[in-house]
Point group: C2
Chain length 338, copies 2
DNA sequence: CTGAAAGCGCTTACAG
DNA sequence: CTGAAAGCGCTTACAG
């Protein structure tokens, strides 16, 4: 059913019906109630495409994933939160996948030119990220999940990666560990750079030197965790503690430790950063894993908020948040061995 | 830039420009080339909302996830495949999350009434699934990932869950195992019912009786795998083999086996169904895990194909596929002990 | 508080 | 092969 027919059916003009349904203030309360009741009863729903054309708003935001690789467990949790939040305001999420960085830039140009979305969410930013300048140039509003360095201020939400890893490192140093390994992500990404800085800063505070052989980089997969940890343990002076970038890499690292005939929490202490996956909980590991943790789902929800506020006209500068990270000590960490 | 301005700029009518850009056959090749070149050069892109209103097509398909729980690693991989495929045809994916079954039904009604999507993808169907009848009633085209029982034929893609678990069970029985446990999903879901049937059928073929105490149900999380396996091992007559429904539950099950002081592949054989997660590979486990495997990402891509064909008018009946499942023997399975 | 009518930016049946 | 014009189903400035 269309507006014209619906309006005729209930004896009102299209104008009044439209205003009543969109929640405009100038409609008499009884009229609005009558319209809403009738819409429900007769099953009238405005055509989204027509609404969008008339208002110039897309009613959707975009998010681009590069390669299949990036659409992993972190993305799912994040999307769950983002989607839950935006749903409440009737905003759709439009998911695109691309292969390369150039494809991603092209995707933003396309989204902007075709007015397909009102804003985009950018994730996994690099320290110097071309996407930010591009979006600012295109005039396509955006919120970044993570931080980056840019000329002009932009909206973002990030967790305190520096603080999280600094805390973990200091905790291990406090337990007497002097050789602490770090399984980190691609150092071009801001989060990995921040974690590295937190690690080095904490070591320095404790007068420990950072051995480059004790830092490994790569995607947070089980396999990388395993390989990197095996490498660390094969060193002439292996570490007595390791900080894993995610629960996935922790899984692999724990396996490597066990295969080497060592016990987690006794011979080698382990701390993992946990984004809080409902299907993989650090408490259920044996031993339970000490973590720095920050639910990525909540970050998704909050970024939904930030997007909505951005679209309502708030200045990007006012939409910047950094979340502290929880630290939970469990059985996987203990005093440095003899 | 709008069509009117763009058309004027290159000295053609809006009609011709529109036809040239949409690939209609009646435009002279040189004209089309000229239009496309100019669009590229001047940065003209048709406004999506206007196109949609004029054609009556949404240019998007919908997918609904119930609760955060269902948006796990399987969903991510599936979405990666689906999105990659639909992207090629310029079809957007609209993701919604809802809490309850009733909310999901409401979401479909909303999507249908507002013409927000041209079709939807339904996943994790139950044996008797109300969503199918609802979508057929609403006239909203859909493709199901999985199978279900319904009056009228519908488009679907499923893997051979029956065959996969029957093969795994027979393999274990062939190795002399007589007490084989199964970690399965919610039995209301078709895939879990099919796996259960495959398990029972294989046991019967080998003249083994199915002990209800050896079947467990629940979400495929690490934790559930752990708890269920611990329960099995605490039985008066514990199993010597287990089939885990996913790599996540296999993780937990393996831990429970180890904690009990038993060795995977020697004291207890383990087979996992693997949906092929890039960050968690069965070959990297210790011992490497024997699997029935079927990439859920490929299923996502293929379902994208089916959706496009459905929208082109092919009959749902012609769009039904069941994929065989690979079986890979690795170190986690061995002869039944003593 | 309500309505008649223009306009959003495309597509496409019809005419040539 | 190309074009003038109606129409897609809404919103909203303007008038009352």
């Amino acid at each position: 059913m269309k507006l014209k027919e619906f309006a005729a059916r209930i004896g009102l003009s299209q104008t009044t019906v439209s205003r009543a349904m969109s929640g405009y203030p100038e409609v008499k309360p009884e009229t609005r109630a009558r319209v809403l009741e009738a819409a429900e009863r007769l099953g009238y729903r405005p055509n989204i495409s027509a609404q969008r054309l008339a208002t110039g708003r897309a009613g959707a935001i975009g998010i681009v994933f590069q390669g299949g690789g990036r659409f992993g467990p972190h993305s799912s949790e994040f999307m769950g939160g983002l989607s839950t939040r935006l749903q409440k305001d009737g905003i759709d999420i439009l998911v695109s996948t691309v292969e390369t960085e150039a494809d991603e830039a092209a995707a933003y140009r396309r989204l902007a030119a075709s007015k397909r979305v009102d804003a985009v969410v950018v994730h996994t930013p690099k320290v110097a990220d071309a996407r930010i300048a591009l979006l600012q140039k295109l005039g396509l509003p955006f919120v970044v999940h993570g931080r980056s360095e840019a000329e002009r201020p932009f909206a973002f939400l990030d967790i305190d990666n520096f603080g999280a890893i600094a805390t973990a490192t200091e905790h291990l140093a406090g337990l007497g560990h002097r050789r602490i390994a770090l399984i980190n992500g691609d150092p071009a990404n801001t989060y990995a750079r921040d974690r590295d800085l937190g690690y080095r800063t904490a070591l320095a505070r404790r007068s420990l030197t950072a051995d480059p052989a004790l830092t490994g980089h790569g995607e947070f997969t089980d396999e990388n965790g395993f390989r990197l940890m095996q490498g660390f343990l094969a060193l002439p002076a292996p570490p007595t503690a390791v900080i894993a970038g995610s629960m996935m890499s922790a899984l692999g690292a724990m396996r490597a430790i066990r295969i080497a005939g060592l016990a987690v929490g006794r011979d080698v202490s382990l701390i993992a950063h946990d984004d809080v996956f409902p299907y993989l909980s650090p408490e259920n590991f044996v031993p339970p894993v000490t973590t720095t943790q920050s639910p990525i789902r909540s970050a998704g929800e909050r970024i939904g908020d930030l997007v909505l506020r951005l679209l309502r006209g708030e200045a990007p500068k006012a939409l910047q948040e950094i979340w502290p990270v929880d630290f939970r000590v469990r059985g996987s960490t203990g005093p440095a061995p003899g």
